[in-house]
Subunit: 214 residues, 3 copies
């Protein structure tokens, strides 16, 4: 969720920030529209929007000791999440009708958050295995908190290819670092890998496997 | 929940500490009596009492990096919360009958926790928007965790004027700081604003708005 | 969950690490098998295994400011938890049939985690009351998070002697430190006290008390 901790030209940095804020907004929409469906009030809509958009990155920053969390240090993240909540509150019906475009933007957010989360964990000195898990948690944790706040089992634990798509992106980032490849192209490939696997899996109706005989 | 991080005369500081512990105790009662209603055992009653009383402040301290959290550094907070749990365990019936007095004390706790939480976040260098949100979270987070522990959607997300009353107090604190007004009177006004809005909204049966057409 | 922060001979340290990893694995099994029963997918099984095994220690380390948490700094903890998840995914039926051996190993984990958690909190300067609570939380928090992730009221709040057995071990550690007894024998007695009370309480069907008239 924060800008990638990688040296990069200003234009790319601006582009990434813009994409990051789009990711926050779309994740926020998923929280706000769920809150409206669950008949929560305005407070509930804003809280679920904030949680869905920012909780994954906040928990990652707590765990690596990057305090205060990035989304509390730059008002644009909070404002993007609150704007998503307000949009969901006012326009939940047209937003719910936009199933496919929202899914595509969500897949882009999934890729960005995974790669940013994994890269930040590596930059803070974590070894590859916990860094990969924190990358997945950055991207999937907000949605899990969103679902828990309405007392539901998180969807990410039950169905579809969501965390597994994120894991693919984390593996790309880790492999790129191990092979000492240049970080920016590796990040781009990582985001695209997550995005592609997620979108294809939705279109094809793929799901993660269940325990044999369960 | 911790004493306000503001220079103040000793008498006022003692008064605030006493009011703070009353807030912890009353919030703890809300957790303990809910646990009894949900047929939890003694462990559940004590845990819900601790969570309702202290979780909001603990999460705030985690997020601003004030470690260990204030309530783990001064035994009086833990003792007040545990005393509330024990009182709920032994005397849940008479406590449940005291609906209105408990609501009034809870409203006072809501005001104190909001103002203390927002002031502490500002003192740790956060900007106004995240500081206001952390103030609301300090006051409302414990009740949300309490409800989540019994697998219910937090009441604060669904009904009544609770987080919105807290938000009013946070706005008072932020405005006072911006206008460079003296902090003690501003804090008093902030607490009174939360208290008044909360009590009036309960007496009048006000609720936060729901999404149009939801 | 981390090695006890106590000077000790290498052999004992190795033994403790091995026991600690057994505790992580058995707690992980409780998460993984619950996930299979709840029809979660492979992601859900691995996440519940990680949560049950490691969340208690992670929250303790967050609260005392020991960052990054011990289980993110030594891959063996993550690998033990993931191995438990994989075992639960593949072999949930035979594991579920092993009720009593799993309960005995779980009781050993309960004792180890409590004593390690309480000792670490004391080593970080916390006073006895919060250190005892953090010891109990280290041992019981993972199971609580595991249950919350499937939208259930945590079992530890409802039934059996589980947190109370952990509390006994924390009291032993605190008393030993107060009386300046040598830490290693005190730790052994603490673990055995938790283990014995837990196993006996299961065999006898004891439960924690409920509120009178609830």
């Amino acid at each position: 969720m924060p800008p990638l901790p990688i040296p990069m030209p200003t234009d790319l940095s601006t582009l990434l920030m813009a994409m990051d804020l789009v990711g926050v907004f779309v994740f926020g929409l998923s929280g706000g529209t769920l809150a409206v469906r669950k008949k929560l009030d305005l407070v509930g809509v804003m809280v679920l929007s904030l949680a869905a958009a920012l909780a994954g990155g906040v928990v990652r920053d707590l765990l690596i000791g990057a305090l205060p969390p990035a989304s509390l240090g730059d008002d644009r993240y909070l404002l993007a999440a609150l704007a998503a909540g307000l949009a969901a509150f006012l326009f939940h019906r047209p937003i719910n009708r936009l199933g496919k475009p929202v899914m595509v933007l969500d897949a882009a957010g999934l890729g960005l958050f995974t790669v940013a989360g994994c890269s930040k964990a590596l930059a803070y000195g974590l070894s590859p295995l916990p860094a990969a898990l924190l990358g997945v948690m950055t991207a999937c944790g907000g949605g899990a908190v969103r679902d828990l706040l309405v007392a539901e089992v998180p969807r990410v634990l039950r169905e579809e290819i969501y965390a597994m798509a994120a894991l693919l992106g984390a593996v790309v980032v880790i492999a790129g670092q191990r092979l000492e490849l240049p970080p920016v192209p590796v990040a781009v490939v990582g985001v695209l890998a997550v995005f592609t696997l997620r979108v294809v899996s939705v279109l094809r109706g793929w799901s993660a496997p269940r325990a044999p005989g369960s």
